[in-house]
C-alpha cells in the first residue's frame, strides 16, 4: 500500500509539472521553408516589394484580368459573337447569365476579391510600419491603393452595390453586406486620389528593362478621369485627363501608320500594361490566344458582330489594322486583331512582344471629349475627337453632328474588345436598353445590365442580397 501511495504521488507530480509548464518547447516548430511570417515580409523593403509583385502577378494572371473581362463584357454588349455553341458563351451573348451557373461572372467576383485581399494585406502591413524605408513604403502603398481601386471599379461597374472590404480581418470581412455603389465610388476616388499623391511620375522598373507594368501617377490620374466621368463629375474628369495628356514626355498617340504597334510591350500609348501570360518575356497575351485563330485551329472561336463591323467608316485604318477576316471550313469570322500573337512561338516568330494593355492614351482623349460634351463644350469635344479620327485616317466630323452620338461611336470603334469599354459605355450613357433591345430583341432584359451576384458568394454570406431580376 505504501508503494502504491508513492507511485500515485509521483504520477501526480509529473502530471502537475507537465500541466503547469505546458512543456512549450516540446512543441516548438519552424515555419515551413516556403513560407515567411507576415511580420517578416513587412520587415524589409525587399520582401514588401515581393508582396506587391505577388499581388500584381496574381491579378494579371487571373482568368478574369487576363482575358475574361474583355470576353465577357464584349459578349454581354454588342461587340462579339461566339461561333461555337458553348453554353456559357451563349448565356453571355444572350444576357441570360445566372447566379448559380455563370462561371464568367462569378470568376470576376472571385478574382477581384482575391486580389483586393492582397492589396489590403499590403496596405495594412505597411501602415505605421517603420521597418521599411519611408519612400519605398509610400510608393508601394500608393500602388496597392491604385490597384485596389481598379479592382473595385470593375466590381461596382459590373455588379452595382458590392461589399466594400478594406481590411483582412475575417471577423469584419466575411459577412459584410453590399453597400451602395455611390459609397464604393467614393472609396475608389479616395484611394485613387491618395495613390496619385503618393506615386512617382515615372514607372518602377526593377529588371533594367523599361516597362509600364506598375501603376505610376498618370495611371492613378487616368483611372480618376474614368471614375469621374462615370460618376458625372465632368470637370474633374477633364482635369485628370488633361494631366495625363499633358505628359507628352511619357505618352503619345502612335501615328496611323503604326497602329500595329499600339499593343506592343512598352508602347508609348500605354498608361498601364500587365505582365504577360507566363512572364514578362513570353510576348503574347491571353486575349490574343483567345481571339486569334492559328494554323492548328479546328474552328473559329469568335467573330466581331455585324453591327460593330458596320460601325467602321470606310477607310478607317483601325478596321484594317485591328480586325482580321478569316475563313475556315466555310465559316467566316472577323477576329479582334489588336493582339496578334497567340502563343510563345508566334511571339518569337513575329519578334514583337505584346503585353495586355490596361489603359491607354486614346481612351483618355475620348474621356475628355465625353466630359467636354457633358459640359456643353462642343468645340473642345470635337477637337479631342479630331485627334483620334485623324490618327485613324478619317475626315473631320460635320459641325452639326450630335456630339454625344459621335463620342460613343468613336469609343466603339477605337476601344472595341478592350476590357469591356463598350458594355460600360452603354451603361454609363444610359443607352444600354435602347441599343441592346435592338441588337438582341429576343433575349435582352433590362435587369441583365448588372451581373448576378454569384450564388456561392451568397450561400456563404447570408447578408448578400441578389440583384433585382435574378432568382
Amino acid at each position: 500500500m505504501n508503494n502504491l501511495y508513492k507511485l500515485l504521488r509521483s504520477v501526480c507530480l509529473i502530471v502537475a509539472l507537465f500541466t503547469v509548464s505546458g512543456c512549450k518547447k516540446l512543441l516548438d516548430i519552424d515555419p515551413p521553408k516556403n513560407e515567411r511570417p507576415s511580420a517578416v515580409v513587412f520587415g524589409s523593403a525587399e520582401t514588401a516589394k515581393a508582396a506587391l509583385s505577388g499581388a500584381y502577378s496574381r491579378l494579371s494572371q487571373s482568368q478574369t484580368y487576363s482575358v475574361n473581362l474583355t470576353l465577357a463584357n464584349a459578349l454581354a454588349a454588342d461587340e462579339l459573337r461566339a461561333l461555337s455553341g458553348t453554353a456559357r458563351y451563349a448565356a453571355l451573348q444572350n444576357n441570360t447569365y445566372e447566379p448559380l451557373t455563370s462561371s464568367f461572372t462569378s470568376d470576376i467576383w472571385t478574382d477581384s476579391y482575391t486580389s483586393i485581399y492582397q492589396f489590403n494585406s499590403i496596405i495594412i502591413g505597411l501602415t505605421d510600419n517603420t521597418a521599411v524605408n519611408a519612400a519605398v513604403s509610400k510608393q508601394i502603398v500608393a500602388e496597392a491603393k491604385a490597384m485596389r481601386a481598379y479592382c473595385y471599379l470593375q466590381l461596382v461597374s459590373l455588379f452595382g452595390d458590392v461589399p466594400l472590404v478594406l481590411t483582412t480581418n475575417v471577423d469584419q470581412t466575411a459577412l459584410s453586406p453590399r453597400i451602395a455603389a455611390s459609397a464604393v465610388y467614393t472609396q475608389i476616388i479616395q484611394d485613387l486620389t491618395e495613390a496619385k499623391a503618393g506615386l512617382g511620375e515615372d514607372y518602377v522598373s526593377n529588371a533594367d528593362i523599361s516597362n509600364r507594368m506598375q501603376a505610376n501617377k498618370s495611371t492613378a490620374a487616368a483611372l480618376l478621369a474614368r471614375v469621374y466621368l462615370t460618376t458625372g463629375n465632368a470637370q474633374e474628369a477633364i482635369t485628370n485627363a488633361s494631366e495625363v495628356i499633358g505628359k507628352t514626355g511619357l505618352y503619345e498617340l502612335l501615328p496611323g501608320s503604326e497602329l500595329n504597334d499600339v499593343f506592343l510591350a512598352n508602347s508609348r500609348e500605354a498608361i498601364l500594361q500587365f505582365g504577360s501570360a507566363l512572364n514578362a518575356t513570353a510576348g503574347y497575351t491571353n486575349e490574343g490566344q483567345a481571339f486569334v485563330s492559328n494554323p492548328f485551329s479546328f474552328s473559329l472561336p469568335f467573330t466581331l458582330s455585324n453591327s460593330l463591323l458596320a460601325a467602321f467608316e470606310p477607310n478607317d485604318l483601325r478596321r484594317s489594322a485591328w480586325v482580321r477576316q478569316v475563313t475556315l471550313n466555310g465559316v467566316t469570322a472577323a477576329e479582334p486583331y489588336k493582339y496578334k500573337n497567340y502563343d510563345i512561338e508566334s511571339a518569337t516568330a513575329s519578334q514583337r512582344s505584346e503585353l495586355p494593355t490596361v489603359i491607354r492614351l486614346a481612351e483618355i482623349y475620348l474621356i475628355r471629349a465625353e466630359a467636354y460634351a457633358a459640359l456643353g463644350n462642343r468645340a473642345s469635344a470635337l477637337a479631342d475627337l479630331k485627334i483620334i479620327r485623324d490618327r485613324a485616317g478619317l475626315a473631320d466630323l460635320p459641325a452639326n453632328v450630335n456630339i454625344n452620338d459621335a463620342v460613343l461611336q468613336e469609343r466603339r470603334v477605337e476601344l472595341f474588345c478592350e476590357r469591356g469599354d463598350r458594355w460600360l459605355s452603354l451603361k454609363r450613357t444610359g443607352r444600354v436598353d435602347a441599343v441592346l433591345a435592338t441588337a438582341k430583341p429576343a433575349t435582352w432584359q433590362s435587369f441583365a445590365q448588372l451581373f448576378p451576384i454569384p450564388q456561392t458568394a451568397r450561400d456563404t454570406n447570408p447578408n448578400l442580397t441578389q440583384n433585382q431580376g435574378y432568382r
Binding site: 516540446l26 516556403n34 508582396a51 500584381y56 494572371q61 459584410s176 533594367d208 458568394a457 454570406n461
Partner: protein, 438 residues
C-alpha cells in the same frame, strides 16, 4: 515549367495515466486520463485534457446466474469519455506569405498563404455507449447489442467563407454540436459442427442517426445555406414536383415559401423552396455471412443489405434533352414520357425551359427507393489431400474461386444504388486461383 518546394513540421506530445481494476472477474473498472499537445494549434491552445471511464459487470459470474444453464456468458458494459482530435493541416494558425514561381517586373512574388486563425482548439467528442454481450449454449450462439451516442463539439473544419474575405475557407472550430447515435447488433451462431460438416453464420445490423443538435446564431454564418439545426448534416433538400404545366409543357415545382418565385434556399429557413426530404444516410443496413465446410470444400458468402432512399441518375445530368451531351437513356425517356400526352412544343426562351428542367432535376420527382440486397462476396475453396501432395513436397494445394458483387436486387434507376448517380459502381470481379504452399 514551374518548380515548388515546401517543408513542414508536426510535433505531438502526450502524457497519460490509466487505472484498471478487476474484482473477481466480475466487476471491471477502468479510468483513463491524458493530456495531449499538438503543434497544429496556435501557441495558446496547443494542449487539451481528455479522459474516459468504463465499467463492466460480468453477471454470469454471479451466483444467481448459475441457475440459467443455457446462459454461458453475460456482460453489461458502459463507458463515457471525451476524446480529442487534431486531424487538420499544419500551420493553419500561421499568418504568412508564400513564394510563387512567377516574377513580376523582375521581382519574384510573395502571396498570402491563408487566413490565419490563432484561436482554434482541440476538437472534442463526448462518447457514451452501453452494451450487452450474451453467450448461449457454451457460446455456440452469441449476441451483442450496443447503443451509442457521440456528441462532437468544436469540430475542426475548413470553415467556408464568402470569397469577399479573400479566401474560400479558413481553419476554425465549428461552433456547433453534432450528434451521432445508433444501435449495433451482432449475432453469431455455430449452427452445425460435426466432424465432416460445419456451418456457422454471422449477422449484423446497424441503425445510425446524425443530427445537428445546436448551432448558435447559424443565421449569421456561412452555414446558413448549408445546415439546418435539428436536421442531419447530410440531408436531401429538394423542390416539390407539382407536375407539368398544361400550357408550356414544362415541369413545375411548388413555391413553398410563397414569395412568388422558385428559389434555391431552404424552405426550413424561409429563404427558398427546397424542403427537407430526409437524411442521406441509410435507414438501416447490415450483412449476413455464412461459412459452410464439408470435408475439403469450404464455401463462404456474404449478403449485404441497405435500406435507403436516393435520387436517380438524372440528378447528375445538367443538360436537358436536346443538348449535345451524352445522358442515360432510361431516366431521360422517363422524363420525356412523364410529360403531357400531347406534348406541346416548348416555345419559351432558353431561360425558362432550362430553369424548369434544372428545377425538375433538383426535385423530389427524382426520388426513388435505392435499397438493395447484394451478394457481396462468395468464396469457394477445395483443398486437395492425398499422398501425392507429399511426393510433390506440397504442404497444401488449394483450388479457389472468389467472386465479388455477383448480383444485386434493387429497384434503383441508374448505374448502381450504392454509388448512385454518375459514379463508378462497385465492380463485379471473379477470380480463380490455384494456391500452392510448399
Amino acid at each position: 515549367m514551374s518548380t515548388s518546394s515546401g517543408s513542414s513540421q508536426y510535433k505531438y506530445t502526450s502524457v497519460f495515466a490509466r487505472v484498471n481494476y478487476n474484482w473477481e472477474s466480475k466487476y471491471i473498472l477502468n479510468l483513463n486520463f491524458r493530456r495531449d499537445g499538438s503543434s497544429r494549434f496556435g501557441l495558446n491552445s496547443r494542449y487539451g485534457n481528455f479522459g474516459s471511464a468504463g465499467a463492466a459487470w460480468i453477471f454470469t459470474e454471479e451466483q444467481f446466474a448459475k441457475k440459467f444453464s443455457f446462459l454461458s456468458f453475460g456482460k453489461l458494459r458502459a463507458s463515457y469519455g471525451i476524446i480529442g482530435s487534431d486531424q487538420i493541416g499544419d500551420y493553419q494558425y500561421l499568418d504568412s506569405y508564400s513564394s510563387v514561381p512567377y516574377s513580376y517586373n523582375g521581382v519574384s512574388g510573395l502571396v498570402p498563404t491563408r487566413i490565419a486563425n490563432e484561436s482554434y482548439r482541440w476538437e472534442e467528442t463526448k462518447k457514451m455507449d452501453i452494451g450487452l454481450d450474451l453467450g448461449f449454449f457454451k457460446d455456440k450462439l452469441s449476441l451483442s447489442a450496443v447503443y451509442y451516442r457521440n456528441i462532437s463539439g468544436n469540430q475542426l473544419v475548413a470553415y467556408p467563407l464568402s470569397i469577399q474575405a479573400g479566401f474560400g475557407s479558413y481553419q476554425a472550430n465549428l461552433p456547433a454540436e453534432v450528434e451521432n447515435k445508433g444501435w449495433e447488433f451482432t449475432l453469431s451462431s455455430q449452427n452445425i459442427k460435426s466432424s465432416n460438416f460445419r456451418w456457422s453464420s454471422d449477422f449484423n445490423f446497424s441503425i445510425n442517426k446524425n443530427k445537428l443538435l445546436s448551432f448558435p446564431n447559424i443565421e449569421k454564418t456561412s452555414y446558413y445555406s448549408q445546415y439546418v439545426v435539428g436536421r442531419p448534416l447530410s440531408s436531401n433538400y429538394v423542390f416539390q414536383f407539382t407536375g407539368f404545366d398544361p400550357q408550356t409543357g414544362l415541369p413545375t415545382v411548388a413555391d413553398i415559401n410563397g414569395n412568388g418565385s422558385i428559389n434555391y434556399g431552404f424552405a426550413d429557413t424561409g429563404r427558398g423552396d427546397r424542403y427537407f426530404a430526409g437524411g442521406t444516410q441509410p435507414k438501416f443496413y447490415g450483412g449476413l455471412s455464412n461459412t459452410l465446410a464439408y470435408k475439403n470444400i469450404t464455401l463462404d458468402f456474404l449478403f449485404q443489405f441497405v435500406k435507403q432512399k436516393g435520387r436517380n441518375i438524372l440528378a447528375q445530368s445538367f443538360y436537358p434533352p436536346g443538348f449535345m451531351y451524352n445522358a442515360a437513356a432510361q431516366p431521360i425517356l422517363q422524363y420525356v414520357n412523364a410529360g403531357l400526352p400531347a406534348q406541346p412544343q416548348v416555345t419559351s426562351t432558353y431561360d425558362d425551359a432550362y430553369d424548369a428542367y434544372s428545377d425538375y432535376t433538383g426535385s423530389d420527382a427524382l426520388f426513388t427507393d435505392a435499397s438493395f440486397i447484394r451478394l457481396k462476396n462468395v468464396n469457394l475453396a477445395y483443398d486437395f489431400t492425398g499422398n501425392w501432395l507429399k511426393r510433390m513436397k506440397l504442404q497444401k494445394f488449394r483450388l479457389q474461386l472468389q467472386a465479388q458483387n455477383l448480383f444485386t436486387i434493387t429497384n434503383y434507376l441508374g448505374f448502381d444504388p450504392e454509388s448512385q448517380g454518375v459514379n463508378l459502381p462497385p465492380l463485379r470481379t471473379i477470380v480463380g486461383a490455384l494456391q500452392f504452399t510448399f
